[in-house]
């Protein structure tokens, strides 16, 4: 059973070792259940695409449009900070015209997917966890199961599809706004012309940096959906439980995105 209707029933323990063991046990079990949840959600994709698809549409709206404003702002300032920081260092070596290259590479490979994932985890992911949690504690999930409707196919799969489509798109958008922010700073603070900046960026557009960024975005989208939905569906104990599930989902998403981002970068470079 992936979705449990009972609280964790581990015997109360006293000393540190057994407490650590218990925490480790719960952690491993949750990783296992979360993985199963994601696999089941993937298994539901063919049927979801063959169906009416209104669920997917709704989920798309929720993850794309709602986070547009904040993504733009964060992307712009990330690019500006990068531009300024890198520009000042490069200037010390008389290389400030290379700033476009540095900003673009960092955006494509690291900051674009990373920032987008953090924003999505904190907004869309938290919303998913809260929604699922509320449904869990008000017995709606149980009602679906009793009607022989698989809650994972019914609720998680549309969200997974929407996130997998939307995260790469939002990431590309973040990349370009960030690069634009870098250009603004380069132009006004570092006296690098638009054309020189663009020449540097264009050099990267055909490289595999973009594909690594895409790949990261896709992995993050699966992780965020899986973690948030799993935390929501694990909620027990009424409104308090929903709060706990939401907080946990955001924290775990942040940590996982950070660590996975590093691992993927290591894999490719």
């Amino acid at each position: 059973m992936i979705i449990s209707y009972e609280p964790d029933s581990f015997p109360p323990t006293g000393d540190l070792v057994s407490r650590l063991g218990r925490t480790g046990g719960i952690f491993l079990r949750n990783v296992g259940r979360g993985t199963l949840l994601v696999l089941q959600a993937f298994a539901g994709i063919p049927r979801a695409l063959a169906g009416s698809r209104t669920d997917i549409g709704r989920a798309l709206g929720q993850c794309g449009i709602r986070s547009f404003g904040v993504t733009s702002t964060v992307a712009l300032f990330t690019g500006m900070i990068l531009g300024l920081q890198a520009g000042l260092i490069l200037r010390a070596y008389g290389q400030e015209m290379r700033v476009g290259y540095l900003v673009a590479q960092t955006m494509f490979r690291e900051m674009g997917p990373f920032m987008t994932a953090l924003i999505l985890a904190a907004s869309v992911g938290a919303a998913m966890a809260a929604q699922m949690g509320t449904m869990k504690v008000s017995q709606e999930i149980a009602a679906l199961e009793v009607m022989s409707i698989n809650p994972i196919h019914f609720l998680v799969t549309p969200r997974l599809i929407a996130m997998m489509l939307m995260t790469p798109v939002l990431t590309v958008y973040t990349d370009f706004i960030g690069i634009l922010g870098g250009a603004l700073v380069a132009n006004t603070q570092l006296d690098v012309s638009w054309t020189a900046y663009y020449e540097n960026v264009r050099f990267l557009l055909t490289s595999r940096e973009i594909w690594v960024g895409f790949f990261k975005a896709w992995v993050f989208s699966v992780l965020i959906t899986g973690i948030s939905c799993f935390q929501g569906l694990s909620a027990t104990d009424g409104a308090v439980g929903v709060g706990t599930a939401t907080r946990r989902s955001v924290v775990i998403c942040f940590l996982t995105v950070l660590i996975t981002g590093y691992i993927i970068t290591r894999m490719f470079y």
């Binding site: 609280p7 449904m135 009602a143 009793v146 009607m147 409707i149």
Partner: protein, 252 residues
């Protein structure tokens, strides 16, 4: 025996909730489970539908030990069982109509006109026609409960589990729900298990009444046997319910 629980034990959150519970019910009969709040009535229903599994003991329904079913078999079993949840458990983003139509669409894949016919019929029966287009948070708690009932019975299950079908309803509507439970039972020879605080309704609809206390059945019998019970817990439960009725002018 249609449903048979034998010696079921369950521990939840560090406490023994079910303590050797045994109860059974024949095909086509209605069993009422009564008892004070927090004695595990809802937990018992969760066991019968397979949402929880017992620590010890067996649960036999329609000749199957449902604690041993795999996911597929469990789904198949559940499609023969309907359940009304204590809170109604409607999906918040769907209208009442879509909620009731949901099992027909998702599991039975009926054509839309067939669905409309069935759903309109059941909504009409439960006086919910005016609320069909509303969302659950726009209607009263009692109406949500009736909508939950409509959704549970729309697939004509063989077994119906009701978790407090009449709590939160006015007396007139309560008796209407009682009549509905009886008529469903007659028409489709449905087997029903009704968890209720409402003894009046239990005496009206049940073939057998079981009183739960401390996770065990402390009294079991026909309504007549139940009324004549010498068990002090039962006597007190009956007394309390009917004396409150007099003090509050017969609210229930």
């Amino acid at each position: 025996m249609m449903v048979e629980l034998v010696n079921v034990y369950k521990r939840l959150g560090g406490r023994n909730i079910l303590n050797g519970l045994s109860v059974s019910i024949d095909r086509g009969e209605t069993l009422a489970i009564v008892g004070p709040s927090g004695t595990g009535k809802s937990v018992t229903l969760n066991h019968i539908i397979g949402l929880m599994s017992p620590d010890r003991g067996s649960i036999n329904v329609m000749g199957m030990d449902i604690t041993k079913l795999g996911y597929r078999e469990l789904q198949k079993y559940r499609s023969k069982v309907g359940m009304l949840f204590q809170s109604g458990a409607l999906l918040g983003w769907m209208t009442v109509y879509d909620n009731v139509a949901l099992p027909l669409r998702e599991c039975y894949h009926l054509p839309e006109d067939k669905i409309r016919e069935k759903v309109d019929g059941i909504l009409n029966l439960l006086s919910l026609t005016d609320s069909a287009g509303k969302f659950p948070n726009q209607i009263s708690g009692g109406m949500q409960k009736r909508a939950g009932l409509a959704r549970a019975v729309v697939c004509n299950p063989e077994i119906m589990l009701y978790d407090e079908p009449t709590s939160g309803l006015d007396p007139v509507m309560s008796r209407k729900i009682d009549e509905l439970i009886i008529s469903l039972q007659k028409r489709f020879s449905m087997t029903s298990i009704v968890v209720t605080h409402d003894l009046c309704s239990a005496f009206g609809i049940a073939d057998k009444i079981a009183m739960l206390y401390g996770g065990k059945v402390v009294e079991y019998g026909t309504p007549e046997q139940f009324k004549a019970s010498r068990n002090e817990l039962v006597r007190e439960f009956i007394r309390a319910q009917f004396s409150i009725n007099i003090q509050t002018g017969g609210e229930r």
